[in-house]
C-alpha cells in the first residue's frame, strides 16, 4: 500500500500543471476583451433604447445569467459543429469541424458569457456619469461619440474598475470548466496528471495553489492601479 499523501509527487507534477497557465490566461483575457466589446454594445443598446437590439440584449443577458456556465459550454460545444454542418449543407462547402480546436469553442463560450455579465456592469458604470456633463459636452459642440470617448468612458472606467477587476478574477477561475471540453488549461493538466498516478488530491491541491497565486498577483495589480487613480484625491483634487 502506498503513501496516504504523496508530497513528492505533488511537487513533481507542478511543472506539468503550470503548462496549463497560458491556456487559462488566454481564455480569460480573450473572453474579457470580447466581453467588454459585447457588453459595451449591449449597454449602449439599453441606454439609448435601440429598438430590436435592446430586446435582443435583454434576452441574451437573461439567458446567460439564468443558465449555468457548464451548460452554456456544452451548448456551444455542440452548437458550432451543427452550425458548420448547416453551412456545409446549404452552401456546398466542405469545412471540416475537426479542424477547429476545442480552445476556439471555449473562447466563444466564455466571451458570450462575459459579454452578458459585463453588459449590466458597463451600463451601470456609464450611467454613473452625471447627465449634466453629457449635456455640457453637447453644448460645447461635441458629438455623441466625442462626449462618450472624452468625458463619459474615462469616468465610467474609474467607477467600474473594481467591478471589472473582480469580474476578471472570477472569469479566470471559471476557465477551469474548460477542461470539460478537453482544453489542457490548469485544471485540465491537473486532471491528466492525477489520472496518470491515480493521485487526485495532490494534483488538485497544486491546481488550487496555482489559481490562488495568480489571483493574489492580480489583486495586487488592481490595488496598485486603484491607488494610482486615487492619487488626485490625495493631492486634494489638484493635478499632480
Amino acid at each position: 500500500m502506498g503513501k496516504i499523501f504523496d508530497f513528492e509527487f505533488m511537487i513533481s507534477i507542478i511543472p506539468d500543471i503550470i503548462k496549463g497557465i497560458p491556456y487559462t490566461i488566454e481564455i480569460a483575457v480573450f473572453a474579457f476583451v470580447i466581453g467588454i466589446g459585447l457588453g459595451f454594445i449591449g449597454a449602449l443598446a439599453k441606454i439609448y433604447n435601440v429598438p430590436v437590439l435592446k430586446q435582443l440584449t435583454n434576452i441574451y443577458v437573461s439567458f446567460v445569467r439564468g443558465t449555468p456556465l457548464i451548460v452554456q459550454i456544452m451548448l456551444i460545444y455542440y452548437a458550432i459543429p451543427i452550425f458548420v454542418r448547416l453551412i456545409n449543407q446549404r452552401f456546398g462547402t466542405d469545412w471540416d469541424i475537426s479542424w477547429i480546436p476545442a480552445l476556439v469553442f471555449m473562447l466563444v463560450a466564455y466571451s458570450l458569457n462575459a459579454g452578458a455579465y459585463l453588459t449590466e456592469s458597463i451600463r451601470a458604470s456609464l450611467q454613473a456619469v452625471s447627465k449634466i456633463q453629457i449635456e455640457a459636452a453637447y453644448s460645447v459642440g461635441m458629438t455623441t461619440w466625442q462626449a462618450m470617448r472624452r468625458i463619459v468612458i474615462p469616468q465610467a472606467i474609474k467607477v467600474g474598475l473594481p467591478v471589472f477587476a473582480n469580474f476578471f478574477i472570477g472569469l479566470l477561475k471559471d476557465t477551469s470548466l474548460a477542461f470539460t471540453a478537453a482544453v489542457p488549461e490548469i485544471m485540465g493538466q491537473a486532471k491528466i496528471q492525477a489520472g496518470r498516478a491515480s493521485r487526485f488530491f495532490e494534483a488538485y491541491i497544486d491546481a488550487a495553489l496555482i489559481y490562488w497565486v495568480i489571483c493574489i498577483i492580480l489583486e495586487r495589480v488592481v490595488a496598485y492601479v486603484e491607488k494610482r487613480q486615487h492619487l488626485t484625491e490625495k493631492t486634494g483634487g489638484v493635478k499632480a
Binding site: 456633463q133 453644448s139 472624452r150 493635478k239
Partner: protein
C-alpha cells in the same frame, strides 16, 4: 443677432412653449424672468437644441433654420454658435479647471494644444481662477465651478451665451462672485440670454427683460419699463411676490 420666431415645444401632453418670439441684438444682455415651469429653461435649451423644438424658426447670426429641418448637421452648427452655462455647472469631472476650458477648443474647434492653452490661460485669468487651473472640479467650490463654466463658455467665442439660472445652485455667499463675473462679461458687450431669479441683478445688467408666463413671453421691455411700470397684471403680481411688495390686509 439671435432671432426666435413662433417656437413651440410640447412634452407629451404638456405644452411648455406656446409660440415664443424673441430677438436678442448683438452685444445685448436679455434676461428671462418668470415663475418655475413657465418655460424659461426650455426656451434656452431649444436655442442650442438640447431640446428639439416642435415648431418655429431660429436664427443665430449666419445660421437660420426651421424646426422641421433640424438634423445632426444643424445641431452641430447651432452648438458651435452658442455656449451654455448650466445651473449645476456641468464641468467635466475628469478634467482640470484649465482642461475644461481647453477641451472643446481642441476637440471641436480643432485648435492646436498650444493655441488652446493660450486661450485657456487668458480666460481662466479673466474669471480670476488662474491659481486653481490644475484643480479638478471636485476640489472647487460652487462659485469657483461656475466661474470656470463661464470661462469655458466664453473661450468658445460663441455668438451668444445662454445662462440657465447660473446662481440658483449656489450657497448665498457665493452668488455675488459669480454675478460679478457675469456682469463683467455683459459689460464687454457679449451677447447673452440669462434665465435668472436674481431680480436686482437682472435690472442692473440687462438691456431688456422678458417676463415669461405659461409658455409665452407676456411682456418685454427695458428694466425700467418692466420693473418700474409693468403693463400686464400678471407681471405685476409676479414682481410683487418676488420683490416682496406685499400688500398686507389684516
Amino acid at each position: 443677432m439671435i432671432e426666435i420666431k413662433g417656437i413651440k415645444k410640447r412634452f407629451r401632453n404638456n405644452e411648455v412653449l406656446k409660440g415664443v418670439d424673441l430677438t436678442v441684438e448683438e452685444g445685448q444682455t436679455v434676461s428671462l424672468i418668470g415663475s418655475s415651469g413657465s418655460g424659461k429653461s426650455t426656451l434656452l435649451r431649444c436655442i442650442n437644441l438640447l431640446e428639439t423644438p416642435d415648431e418655429g424658426k431660429i436664427s443665430i447670426a449666419d445660421l437660420s433654420f426651421d424646426a422641421k429641418e433640424i438634423n445632426r448637421n444643424v445641431r452641430a452648427k447651432a452648438r458651435r454658435r452658442t455656449a451654455m452655462v448650466f445651473q449645476n455647472f456641468g464641468l467635466f469631472e475628469n478634467k482640470t479647471a484649465l482642461e475644461n476650458i481647453m477641451e472643446a477648443l481642441i476637440v471641436v474647434q480643432k485648435k492646436t494644444p498650444a493655441e488652446a492653452l493660450e486661450i485657456g490661460l487668458d480666460y481662466i485669468e479673466r474669471v480670476g481662477m488662474e491659481d486653481h487651473r490644475n484643480h479638478y472640479p471636485q476640489a472647487l467650490s460652487g462659485g469657483q465651478k461656475q466661474r470656470i463654466a463661464i470661462a469655458r463658455a466664453l473661450a468658445l467665442d460663441p455668438k451668444i451665451i445662454l445662462f440657465d439660472e447660473p446662481t440658483s445652485a449656489l450657497d448665498p455667499e457665493l452668488v455675488q462672485e459669480v454675478l460679478n463675473v457675469i456682469k463683467k462679461v455683459s459689460n464687454e458687450r457679449t451677447t447673452m440670454l440669462i434665465v435668472t431669479h436674481e431680480m436686482d441683478f437682472a435690472r442692473d445688467i440687462s438691456d431688456k427683460v422678458a417676463f415669461m408666463s405659461e409658455g409665452q413671453i407676456l411682456e418685454i421691455g427695458t428694466p425700467q419699463e418692466l420693473f418700474g411700470n409693468p403693463k400686464e397684471e400678471r407681471t405685476r403680481q409676479f414682481l410683487d411676490r418676488y420683490l416682496q411688495r406685499f400688500t398686507y390686509v389684516i
